[in-house]
């Protein structure tokens, strides 16, 4: 390893078995108050054939100390944002503020039951309403539902809204309009969500500049069966679709609607608004742009924002402001939305994430939101500038919040993107997103976010350059990486051939 590059963590810690392997009969990790009502024979309450007869055999029996050590030891095998830069492109791994965590745990919110009558949950409804208002302003799209639980869920909601709108507008004729256009650079969730809404997918090519091919778009729009376009902007190459207005016009003229995947909104907040570009509906990821924690794979929250015209189609119930009482606004739930696509989730969505996102917006203030966007884009540009000397950068245009490089130069020595990513672990960084977008061979998509300081960016650039050098001088070192983790590269092919998906005695 080169001088001046310090590892953040060694990733090495004690072995820890599965909890089932640690379990000892008779250990107890809890205590409940004694039962304080008269006990009836269980058989009088529940017929014996409805009762369990396996005595929960195999479930763990451990003490509280066992549980704490078990999880704390396992936790040390994880990389996390709080350890350092986590430059996964398209994932927006920014700082998860502790203040937001505190807000989400305020007992007056954490203890509210979702079936509480409106008059006893006004504060909870107010949070939803206010966040909706702010997201409407940020996106320039006035209709907002916070019900979807994640990005893909918000996508599904948005596409179902398009479908419902077309069915209402065109009646029977809408059955001829069942094609969703999706660029070849899109997230895999896009076609999967389109499919769920009964659309077939046609793929739009990207140009050599990395932007949507307008000619191809026009060609695909010429036949009258296009329901809409799903576009990520900035796209998954980190480039702003500068023809976005024209793109929206082409789709609208063909009778379709434009859905924007808002995964990359961290490049736009406070700078430009999808609603002003001609976009009809968008989803946001509160767990990306608005800093709610990713939690090792969720929970997310995927609000869906749309034009006034599409608002009647949003999921039910809607939260509406009715009046003022004692100096405070009052809210109620509106179920009477006959055009709605229906409910997409029980209750109101991932409410705890809404509290955190509202806290994020209020902590930043309007100027802070813009400042975060500027800092995020600056960091990505700084990395783009710092790595161009050593890595192939397939597109010339300046990137926004993320930048894509490839392994083209290193692969001549047999070192590929996967190897570079694994070697980066030895330098104390989480790797970037690899092999996505699919249209770039050996893609490395790097998104630093605003939560990284200059020293760490310099360290990252130095680490990447050092790996480029190692690929030339000592490729074996890179090919066998990582060298510092608790386990080495795991045989994923063998794991998929004979899957072991649970512990068994």
């Amino acid at each position: 390893m080169s001088d001046g590059i310090t590892k953040v963590t060694s990733h090495i810690s004690p072995n820890e078995q599965l909890i089932f392997e640690r379990s000892q009969q008779g250990r107890i990790g809890y205590r409940l108050p004694a039962l304080d009502v008269e006990e009836s024979p269980v058989n009088d309450l529940l017929p014996p054939h409805f009762q369990r007869d396996d005595d929960l055999e195999g479930m763990p029996e451990v003490s509280e100390v066992d549980v704490i050590r078990h999880f704390v030891r396992m936790s040390t095998w994880n990389y996390s944002i709080d350890l350092g830069m986590y430059p996964l492109g398209s994932c927006t791994m920014k700082y998860n503020s502790r203040l937001n965590e505190r807000v989400a745990r305020i007992p007056d919110f954490a203890n509210v039951h979702p079936m509480t009558e409106e008059q006893d949950s006004q504060g909870a409804l107010q949070v939803i309403y206010e966040l909706e208002q702010h997201l409407a302003e940020i996106t320039g799209l006035p209709g907002v539902s916070l019900q979807p639980a994640a990005g893909a869920h918000g996508e599904m909601t948005g596409i179902m809204i398009i479908r419902a709108f077309l069915d209402a507008r065109d009646g029977e004729a809408a059955s001829g309009r069942r094609t969703m256009l999706i660029p070849d650079s899109a997230h895999g969730t896009n076609p999967a969500s389109a499919h769920l809404s009964g659309f077939s997918v046609k793929t739009i090519r990207s140009t050599s500049e990395g932007l949507t091919d307008l000619e191809h778009l026009r060609e695909l729009c010429a036949h009258g069966e296009v329901a809409g376009l799903m576009l990520t902007n900035p796209n998954t190459l980190g480039l702003f679709e500068r023809n976005i207005k024209q793109i929206c016009d082409i789709v609208h003229e063909a009778g379709g609607l434009v859905y924007m995947d808002g995964a990359n909104m961290n490049a736009l907040v406070g700078i430009a608004r999808p609603g002003d570009m001609g976009v009809d509906v968008i989803h946001l990821n509160l767990h990306k742009t608005f800093s709610t924690p990713h939690g090792g794979g969720g929970p997310g929250s995927g609000p869906c924002c749309c034009t006034k015209e599409l608002e009647p189609f949003l999921p039910v119930p809607r939260i509406v402001k009715t009046d003022w009482s004692a100096g405070e606004p009052t809210f109620r739930l509106d179920y009477d939305r006959p055009k709605s696509i229906g409910r997409v989730k029980a209750f109101f969505g991932n409410y705890g994430m809404m509290l955190r996102a509202l806290s994020y917006i209020l902590t930043h203030g309007n100027d802070g939101l813009r400042e975060a966007t500027e800092a995020a884009v600056l960091n990505a540009r700084y990395i783009a500038d710092g790595l161009t000397s050593d890595y192939d950068k397939p597109f010339n245009s300046p990137p926004m919040h993320e930048v894509v490089f490839t392994d083209k130069r290193q692969s001549r020595k047999g070192v590929h993107t996967l190897d570079i990513a694994k070697r980066l672990i030895d330098y104390g960084f989480h790797p970037m997103t690899i092999y996505f977008p699919l249209i770039v061979q050996g893609a490395m998509l790097i998104e630093p976010t605003e939560s990284v300081g200059r020293q760490e960016l310099d360290q990252f650039i130095a680490a990447m350059r050092s790996i480029a050098n190692e690929a030339l001088e000592d490729p074996e070192l890179v090919l066998n990486a990582p060298h510092s983790t608790r386990v080495g590269r795991l045989d994923e092919a063998a794991a998929a051939r004979k899957p072991v998906l649970r512990w068994q005695k």
Partner: protein, 450 residues
């Protein structure tokens, strides 16, 4: 902004280092007419002190949060051991991403493997995924999966499934060519098994039953499995109260093919309905049809055991429109909460909680049924929820109880069952003391007598 490490001076230096003059230049690729040339019309920044006091003020408008509560209906107030939130709050868990790089994600991966195992043990099934958004979307995915497995398009669901879950299923299947039929429940028992068994035919992809159902009544799952399998259909069993698995025969042991459950009861706060966690389990033979992420065992070249995301060829990032689901982000951290909860309570704790729920609910039901003018309309066996019929409109009765006695007494059923204006759903768990139950009984008696 205190969350942005670089100072304005540093940012200026960085701009110069890459040959730009100002922050505006960073956005050169956005056409001028698309730039927002004004400040966002969102509030100005608040300090930590101001922010907390603002949220606390809004929180005080949630009168229900501090009251003794008997609300269930898909979200349950159970005891949560203190260590659950401590472990969730470890940076290494809550600030990590999806475990795409297994060498530095073993903490998350091993946890999910344990979660999958626990879900299998509780449900009596062969395999479980890494989680769904919640019980309702899990149920919708189960219906879609049943259609894929059987290539049949008719699905018969019990009308005693949680009404919001049924609404979600309707939304999901509306463009999938699935014909969703509802089978009635029995007005005396509150159970729906007989109606479901009668409706199944050889066009049926699946029977969908919830047990305990929305009314709290336990269904005869084993009989339904037999009825479904006799016609080549699958049995999908749904639970909103997963704690009942501590006591009730597992759906797997009854012959279910797919089991979905809301896992909120396992260590997750009510939090106005989310984030919760969907449990999804099935049989080995359907491993390649299951939606969502799976974690499996794997070994490195030195033979060390680790865990990886596996069977990804079912998923959207590989299969795109042919994927088994569009789900990507799931509920990882909430699955961790459930895992910590289940391991802390352990085998005996889950049994004891379930036992206390059963006994306390039975006590409450007996007492309420003895109040003049009150009755229990359904006779089916129950776990910790039951329907009460009062002498007046349930919405009015419960509003009085809240206002006069500061008790959240139950969920009125009129919104979902307009022919039941006086009925409401009461839930009792281990956290409701006898004194609370007695206060509920006295309160109901008093406010109904006015």
């Amino acid at each position: 902004m205190r969350y942005i490490p670089n100072s304005p001076e540093e940012r200026k230096e960085m701009l110069e280092a890459i040959g730009l003059k100002s922050a505006e230049d960073l956005f050169d690729s956005i056409p001028q007419d698309l730039l927002l040339k004004r400040a966002l019309n969102t509030p100005a920044a608040l300090s930590e002190i101001e922010l907390l006091s603002r949220f606390e003020r809004m929180g005080r408008r949630n009168a229900a949060a501090r009251r003794p509560s008997f609300l269930g209906g898909g979200a349950y107030a159970h005891y949560i051991p203190t260590i659950v939130d401590h472990i969730l709050s470890r940076s290494e868990f809550f600030t990590a991403y999806t475990p795409y790089q297994p060498e530095i994600s073993q903490g998350t991966l091993q946890t999910i493997f344990e979660f999958q195992t626990l879900v299998c043990q509780l449900t009596g099934m062969d395999l479980a995924n890494a989680s769904m958004y919640d019980g309702s979307t899990g149920l919708a995915e189960a219906v879609l999966m049943a259609e894929r497995v059987t290539r049949r398009s008719k699905v018969i669901a019990s009308s005693a499934v949680h009404p919001q879950y049924l609404e979600v299923v309707k939304t999901y299947v509306q463009h999938a060519g699935i014909d969703l039929e509802l089978a009635a429940f029995d007005n005396d028992t509150g159970q729906s098994a007989a109606g479901l068994a009668n409706a199944v035919d050889d066009q049926t992809a699946a029977i969908v039953v919830q047990s305990p159902n929305f009314f709290g009544c336990v269904e005869d799952v084993a009989a339904l499995a037999e009825a479904a399998h006799a016609k080549g259909a699958l049995l999908v069993v749904c639970l909103t109260e997963a704690m009942s698995l501590g006591l009730l025969k597992s759906p797997g042991a009854c012959g279910a093919d797919i089991v979905v459950a809301e896992g909120q009861s396992f260590g997750v706060p009510l939090s106005f309905g989310g984030p919760y966690v969907g449990l999804f389990a099935t049989r080995d033979k359907y491993a390649r049809q299951i939606p969502g992420r799976l974690v499996g065992e794997a070994y490195d070249k030195h033979g060390r055991r680790g865990f990886v995301l596996t069977l990804a060829t079912r998923e959207q990032h590989i299969r795109r429109e042919k994927a088994t689901s569009n789900i990507c982000t799931n509920e990882g951290l909430i699955a961790l909460a459930a895992t910590v909860y289940l391991e802390t309570m352990g085998r005996r704790g889950i049994q004891e909680v379930a036992h206390q729920c059963l006994q306390k609910a039975a006590y409450a039901a007996r007492r309420i049924a003895s109040i003049k003018g009150f009755s229990l309309p359904f006779s089916g066996p129950r776990f910790n929820e039951f329907v009460v019929r009062g002498p007046l409109d349930a919405g009015e009765l419960l509003a009085r109880l809240g206002k006069d006695k500061s008790i959240e007494g139950g969920i009125p059923l009129w919104r979902y069952f307009s022919d039941r204006p006086n009925d409401f759903l009461v839930c009792v768990t281990e956290i409701n003391s006898r004194a609370e139950i007695d206060a509920l009984v006295e309160g109901l008696s008093e406010v109904s007598n006015r």
